[in-house]
Amino acid sequence: MLVALFALVAAVALAACGGGDTVGGGSDNEVETAQPGPVEGEFNISNWVGYIDKGEGSTIEEFEAKYPGTTVNYSEDINDNSDFFGKIQPLLDQGESGGRSMFVVTDWMAKQMNDLGYLQQIDYADVPNVDANLKESLRSPAFDPDRSFSIPWQSGMTGLLVNKRLAPDVTNINDLFDPQYKGKVTVLTEMRDVIPLMMKADGIDPEDATKEDWLEQIDQLQEAVDSGQLRRFTGNDYIQDLTNENVVAVIGWSGDIALVENDDVEFVMPEDGCILWSDNMVIPVGAPNTAAALAWADFVYDPKVQADISDYVRYVSPVEGIEEVNPSLAEDELVNPPEDFTADCSTQPNPPGSAEDVQEVTESFQAVVTQ
């Protein structure tokens, strides 16, 4: 009887899951365009931590007031592109979004998702504010030349966050490898930020870098791990280490300076330039309430709304005209970097070559991280 029971349960489960199919490999979903419509009901959006003010009179409440009958469920459940993708990919592959109408991912991840057929297309007639106010420099990035599936949420710079009192002379990425700072420096787990920054410091243009260039920089990183120079690989949990002065200099993201509670810590533009990227709003396949998602994207591209967001997060705003709303933002070089400030910066690159080449580079990097 017990055996029969096991067999029954196993048979049911096997039938339900359909063993033997291919796992992974992208979906066969047809590419859809996000549908507009009346804005009401539940709207679920996933974003990164600290990317909006959630307090009294926040952007979220203003949106709900503008569209009565709409409830925004704003979750800060994204900490890492790969990690988020790993969690949501099985759903997307089935044409579902786990109830999310929209989420925010970095350029390369947006492209990867779109290549796998996991994203809906956006018609700019449905988001007139985006069409009117998106900064010229962000209108045709290489990964999405027509901005057909991605709308920037915020842009940012990856560079150095330095404690000027304890490490006044750190101005170059290679200064992180100075033995006097042994065990007092960290770098990110985000390969596409760390390796290109190291290349730039060694005089290699990340745009033209070969697979061998990537692997060679990963070897250098390995040496820094072996010698004990690097303390950790981090996400934005370096914020705590910088605040407590456990570390004196890190590779980090520009806007996080607003979250470090230590007046000695500053964002330092590396001598050889920074890495530029955007985190983008995307609408996944199977998203409920795409009308609200489109309305939300349009809403945050109103310069009045965007000025509030910018004032809080201190990342580079993708929206034109916020300086007229809040003149103090014009002087903040993290929110509104002057052209000569970012002159030497590069757009965040992907490792070159085929999917197998990218996988090889990713595996080498991860082998260093999980040592």
């Binding site: 009887m1 029971l5 096991f6 899951c17 992974g24 993708f85 002065e245 456990n246 197998e356 991860q366």
Partner: protein, 288 residues
């Protein structure tokens, strides 16, 4: 009537059996099948018989394997050394404070695991009083640190799993018939002899249970190394996380999980053999 009576044990087994089938046997089957697939994430993983996933998973991560067992073993040993005297005091010496002390052991559980581990980052941060004391005692070099080293990971593991060691040992000490200890003294045994030949053997089942409850989850833990560790302190849990979520090499992640499970099973079996499954079952004869 007799037919019905014959079915009763099966009926009693059913909830557990269905649970195990649904949440252990079936996932294991899928994991085993996945571990043998070949291909890449972008192309899709095809059914195959790719045994090399297992050898790759093993050969590429030997350091992390050894480290996982060393860290978990050290944490278990320290936890045992802390837990036994503490349980002894609570069970046999605490009097009316017994419940209060037990509550103090369990109280940290009211806060989440994650928050408690993150709190250790502050306790062990480079300029903290705790680290200054360790430096003063020359247990940590003057320019050395604790946070982001293997020592911090072991400290976190010990702290997080300590109650799992204390509670079973406490339970076995609490049940002890104190007249046996008095009898030992009556028979001219010293305190040490009484402890070694009476108390310790009686509480052996509690120790065995505590060691297993601490060691098994500690080997597979990934949170402590993630939060308190630095470079070169990754445990197998961290490698599996990276393989699954970062590298999306599902087959190798599954293979590695399997190897880990078998390794833990082997260690536990050897341990039970040595520590005496008799003690675990409360069988007196094996002890003599």
């Amino acid at each position: 009537m007799t037919a019905r009576r014959r079915l009763v044990p099966y009926g009693l087994l059913a909830p557990g059996a269905i649970w195990l089938a649904l949440f252990f046997v079936i996932p294991m089957y899928f994991m085993g099948e996945l571990a043998l697939r070949s291909g890449t994430f972008t192309e899709g993983f095809q059914p195959a018989f790719e045994v090399s996933n297992f050898s790759d998973a093993l050969s590429g991560n030997t350091d992390q394997f050894v480290r996982s067992f060393v860290y978990a073993g050290t944490a278990t040993l320290i936890a045992l050394l802390i837990a036994y005297p503490l349980s002894y005091a609570i069970a046999l010496r605490a009097g009316r404070f017994k419940l209060l002390l037990l509550f103090a052991v369990v109280a940290p559980f009211f806060t989440t695991y994650l928050i408690r581990t993150i709190a250790w980052k502050t306790i062990l941060s480079d300029d903290s009083p705790a680290v200054s004391v360790l430096q003063f005692l020359h247990l940590v070099p003057e320019d050395g640190r604790v946070l982001a080293t293997g020592a911090a990971v072991i400290a976190g593991l010990t702290y997080n799993f300590l109650p799992f060691m204390i509670l079973p040992i406490y339970a076995s000490l609490d049940r002890i018939d104190t007249s046996l200890i008095e009898a030992g003294k009556d028979l001219y045994a010293s305190s040490t002899q009484t402890f070694l030949r009476v108390t310790l053997p009686i509480t052996a089942p509690g120790i065995v249970a505590g060691v297993l409850l601490t060691f098994i989850p500690a080997v597979g833990d990934y949170v402590n190394a993630e939060i308190l560790g630095g470079t070169g302190t990754a445990m197998i849990g961290n490698v599996i996380q990276s393989l699954y979520l970062e590298q999306r090499n599902y087959p190798e992640a599954a293979a590695l999980s399997f190897i880990m499970m078998l390794a833990i099973l082997a260690v536990v079996l050897v341990y039970l053999r040595v520590a005496g499954s008799g003690a675990f079952m409360g069988d007196d004869e094996e002890r003599s």
